[in-house]
């Protein structure tokens, strides 16, 4: 069964990516986790995402497309990375989510590809 783990990061977490003092530690946290995921053989795909201020959002309003800088919704925590994993059930997917180096994770089951 495929599950998507959406890792949310706070503004502080995002700032650690570029902070010379915190950068190494931040990246190490992810590399340990990614190593564990890969070597356990559960990864389908995965990527880190650039910070939310680099996002571009498109919203169609009254038939007109509006292009904006920044994420679609302004919330305290934004998606910082995504992993799709292949595990037998949701219990195991949640266990993997709990191992991630962030404080907020959302887990959803993927809809199987259409025939």
């Amino acid at each position: 069964m495929h599950y998507t783990l959406l890792f949310y990061e706070s503004a502080e977490d995002f700032s650690h990516r570029t902070d010379p003092l915190r950068k190494k530690e931040y990246l190490a946290g992810w590399s340990h986790y990614v190593k564990a995921l890969r070597e356990s053989g559960v990864v389908v795909s995965g990527n880190g995402l650039h910070s939310p201020e680099t996002a571009t959002s498109l919203k169609r309003h009254n038939g007109k497309m509006l292009v904006q800088d920044g994420p679609v919704t302004e919330t305290k925590e934004q998606i910082g990375g995504i992993f799709v994993i292949d595990v037998p059930d949701l219990d195991i997917a949640l266990k993997w989510a709990a191992r991630g180096p962030v404080n907020t994770v959302e887990v959803r089951q993927n809809i199987p590809p259409m025939e």
């Binding site: 190490a28 986790y33 190593k35 564990a36 356990s40 219990d91 191992r99």
Partner: protein, 407 residues
């Protein structure tokens, strides 16, 4: 004592008894829980004005029974169901006006929860809910399960109980060891879920360790001479005795061998030793006794200043024969490494099938630790990384990172 507190106390003491009593007579656990919830709500109102009655259980039973009657009428229940309620009414009357203590049928309830027909994954949650009245959402968080899923699993288990797939009698002598083991395992799983929260950051999970000991003590009260029940209590108390020593002032994880023995609870260790001694008198060894004996050897460090690793390694040999779980295999490797050398420990780790340790964090932490000691630095770094990646507890993660930096 204010009314609210008194009701909480009564709830604590009576809830499990009432659920057990009513379920065994009524079978429909879900209806019983609903009826009791109404009864406690009524108690909150009435007792606040009139004080807590002499026999809170009898009072609660009377109200709960009335709710069950309403429900039975509404569902147009069959005659035998009404008959059961009439019997209960008589008993409730007798209980209210006699000196007899309220019957304690929680033992039966524990065996029902750990019945072979109940999915092993739901046995522990079912116990927490029926005997202790803990709600599904809290149980779900403690076991890292989706709350809706937990709710469904509990509902399915309750349907099995209601539909008569489960005998309500205590198991006979032939079945006894296996059935008791299932009960003990379910209680130990409660302890484990509270224990994993090393940092003690989550009070709800810390409380679960207390709940496990409560269940263990309850079982001990009902079966004081059963060696494995004594073994389980001894095991949990030995671990619990070290709770304060498991963290330093900054909340960081402290491994067992580095713990400050002055922070260990002497009273708990003494009680654990008494239980273990009592268990030994039966002359029938079991996995909980063996595990408790291992903890007992660790506890001796408080007196002798050293750990007898060879003794621990031998106890693990016995445990491997009785219960070769992945945790036990890793524990044995750790003890053998201390007693006979890191290379011997690593060799034992290599024997464990890869499929079992793929995502088992303690295996990778021990591999890293022993590789470091053998100065196999590349292997140590790789294993530390994997152990850190598999960690769910931030304080252990920090501890492993520190260890990794020393490679």
């Amino acid at each position: 004592m204010d009314a609210h507190h008194a009701i909480e106390q009564a709830a604590r003491d009576s809830y499990g008894r009432l659920v057990a009593y009513l379920t065994i007579r009524w079978r429909d656990l879900h209806a019983v829980e609903d009826a009791l919830a109404d009864a406690f709500l009524a108690a909150l109102k009435t007792w606040h004005d009139n004080g807590v009655p002499n026999k809170p259980e009898a009072w609660l039973l009377t109200v709960a029974r009335r709710r069950l009657i309403d429900r039975a009428r509404h569902d147009q229940a069959q005659d035998d169901a009404m008959q059961a309620l009439i019997e209960m009414a008589k008993e409730a009357q007798e209980l209210a006006f006699s000196d007899t203590a309220f019957p304690d049928e929680r033992l039966k309830m524990l065996f029902i929860c750990a019945h072979p027909a109940i999915n092993p994954h739901v046995r522990t949650p079912l116990m927490l809910q029926t005997v202790l009245g803990i709600d599904a959402a809290r149980i779900a968080s403690a076991f890292l399960v989706k709350p809706a899923t937990m709710g469904q699993r509990l509902t399915r288990a309750k349907a099995k109980i209601r539909d008569g797939h489960i005998r309500f009698e205590l198991p006979d002598a032939k079945e006894w060891p296996l059935r008791l083991d299932a009960v003990l395992e379910a209680i130990y799983a409660v302890y484990g879920s509270g224990w994993d929260d090393v940092a003690g950051l989550d009070p709800r999970r810390r409380d679960l360790a207390q709940e496990a000991i409560y269940l263990g003590r309850l079982l001990l009260k009902l079966m004081p001479d059963e060696p494995e029940v004594n073994g389980l209590i001894a095991l949990m108390l030995h671990c619990e005795a070290r709770r304060d020593a498991r963290r330093n002032e900054k909340g960081g994880y402290v491994p067992l061998t580095k713990q400050d023995i002055s922070l260990w609870s002497e009273t708990m260790i003494e009680e654990a030793e008494r239980c273990l001694g009592h268990a030994a008198q039966a002359g029938c060894i079991g996995r909980f006794q063996l595990d408790a004996a291992i903890q007992s050897v660790h506890a001796e460090r408080a007196r002798t200043g050293r750990t007898e690793w060879e003794e621990i390694a031998l106890l693990y040999e016995g445990l491997v024969r009785l219960a070769p779980t992945t945790g036990v295999l890793v524990g044995r490797a750790a003890a053998v490494a201390e007693a006979r050398g890191a290379d011997k420990g690593l060799a034992l780790l290599k024997e464990i099938p890869a499929e079992r340790i793929k995502s088992y964090q303690p295996f990778w932490a021990l591999t890293a630790h022993l590789s470091k000691r053998m100065q196999q630095n590349e292997q140590a770094r790789s294993a530390y990384s994997r152990a850190i990646g598999l960690c769910t507890d931030p304080s252990i993660r920090e501890f492993l990172k520190q260890q990794a930096r020393q490679v």
